[in-house]
Symmetry: C2
């Protein structure tokens, strides 16, 4: 019976989330019932949405319960099985949470999904938590279904080096668009342009106010912006909004800047009218119907090395809280994962 | 040769528009060329969009030129004709501007539109500037094409007693919705409920902050709000946003509060994400394809007295500036018109 290290939510953040909101506990992995499998996690995914769950306020999803294992996407391997559907050794993607092992029942549809071996697909297991998983499909839905970019249009995406942003850019390039990223730091911008093939990337740490960012945007997107994939909110969103073309489309996805409870107004919503914009918020898990089509395209882009997603990998479940707090502050470079020891 | 009294834009507003931004001038009506008609205006329409045109800033339409007659919709009668398409006595709708007479050429499509006599249709001439004109089609497009309300859903509209708001409510009732208006003053709210048939109307002059308005909205819309037709912006929009249901739709039309140049931020745009809202700005003149269908329904609602639109009628072209400034402050009750002497 393996020992399972777990991270639970111990108390809720007041303002910024801090490490002491979490607690590391250990317990033996439970006995399996019929139809259940024990999954040993290889990677845990850390994502901005988790910050929202830490609050007790009304949101699109239930709050994370205190004292329970933090939710989170995982990839791993079946190590014990009382299910006819899964064999020991199967690679699986699921929502195993912030822990080393999880138990899943094969009777709940969608809880666990078998994925083929990397040797067959050229897709590494960790990619199912990023480009070929929830963040990738988020990019696909917001870009393809909400923004609906046409060849020749200009697409702008914030958090451009991240798991979602990188996929947005590569998907937009594949559709013949000019793609402008916004990211924090020269390294991230270099990666976005040189490895992902964006046409330009603006470093918001170099252009630190609306005026400077606006000028940089004007140079990077001389024909204005038709599609905006919004991941951060705040002053960057305000500035991009000023550069939107008439009939522009905005997919509202992240707004990280708002998760910590700080007020984050939109300076000039009248621009939605003036430029006849369509602005739409979405949650990818509510659009399961697009997943097969999206994963097909994303998987191909990863396998053919057109989408070379970066990963920031923390080591061991105990490192998850600090890695997560770093993610909220933009310290990660690409998809933030925790690799189990 | 009749004398034509005209109101021109003399100088641009700094902050609030004031009467001295306008100037009354007189000149003889011009000689007609072949293909032209002289229209004697019966009514001039005053609309919030005109405030935007008074600014020199970039917007969806060109700024009103200084020294030229203010633009505006008009209904009137052909009094001289050098066109085979129009006869003296024809009733016509056009964009004649703030003046007593205008000249229109029959070679420019859409400049002038003949309308049938009231005796035939039961639709009074002035209605073509309101319920059966641009404001009515604005209501129709925003509600039917953007909000797409379903029977049983709750629709909220601000400036509910106005030319647009009244039509939004009646169109929504015809679609089986619960309709909640927001208007300023008991008289307006009584009219909205008793004569237009809204289910409820909230007086924002009685509920003067977000907390009070939110409480009133909760009572008037116990199931939350699915569709919001936005005419005013500011704190009222912020408050309504908090009561929107998941997958709600917002048609952004007016934002009067912003026309005078005061900053009018949106307090919590993260709600667009949290509630997966679709927010869309629009200008009705860019959707001419819907006008026939919209005018058909609106005309029927007016002729059958289901849409009993109020009118505030100022007397004589010289009264237009004060009437317009009153409109911007919500002093009008229903569609603001100027009746020519």
């Amino acid at each position: 019976m393996p020992i399972n290290q777990q991270i639970v939510l111990d108390n809720r953040p007041v303002g910024d989330a801090v490490a002491s909101n979490f607690k590391l506990i250990s317990s033996p992995a439970p006995q399996l019932k019929d139809g259940e499998v024990l999954v040993k996690h290889h990677y845990l995914s850390l994502d901005p949405y988790m910050r929202g769950r830490m609050n007790d306020s009304k949101s699109y999803a239930a709050a994370q319960a205190l004292g329970e294992v933090m939710i989170g996407g995982t990839v791993g391997e079946v190590v014990e099985s009382k299910s006819a559907k899964y064999a020991v050794g199967d690679k699986v993607v699921g929502m195993g949470g912030w822990q080393e092992y999880s138990v899943a029942s094969d009777s709940v549809v969608g809880v666990l999904r078998k994925v083929p071996d990397e040797s067959v697909t050229q897709i590494p297991l960790s990619a199912y938590l990023g480009s070929v998983g929830m963040p990738g499909v988020t990019a696909w839905y917001g870009l393809v279904k909400i923004c609906q970019p046409k060849a020749g249009e200009t697409v702008c995406v914030t958090a451009a080096s991240g798991a979602v942003g990188s996929a947005v850019g590569v998907l937009a390039k594949a559709r013949g668009c000019r793609v402008v990223g916004i990211a924090g730091g020269k390294d991230k911008c270099d990666y976005v342009v040189n490895e992902l093939g964006f046409d330009a990337c603006i470093d918001y740490k170099e252009h630190t106010d609306g005026k400077a960012l606006s000028k940089a945007l004007k140079e990077a997107a001389p024909n204005g912006i038709d599609c905006y994939f919004e991941n951060v909110g705040g002053w960057i969103m305000d500035t991009v909004l000023l550069r939107m073309n008439a009939f522009g489309r905005m997919a509202i996805c992240g707004m990280i800047a708002g998760y910590n409870g700080a007020p984050m107004p939109l300076a000039n919503p009248a621009l939605i009218l003036i430029n006849r914009l369509k602005v739409e918020g979405f949650i990818v898990s509510e659009h399961m119907e697009v997943w097969p089509e999206a994963l097909q395209e994303l998987g191909t882009l990863v396998a053919t090395k057109k989408l070379k997603a970066r990963e920031s990998i923390a080591s061991g479940i105990a490192s998850a809280p600090e890695a997560f707090l770093g993610l909220l502050k933009g310290k990660n470079f690409g998809k933030q994962l925790v690799k189990m020891n």
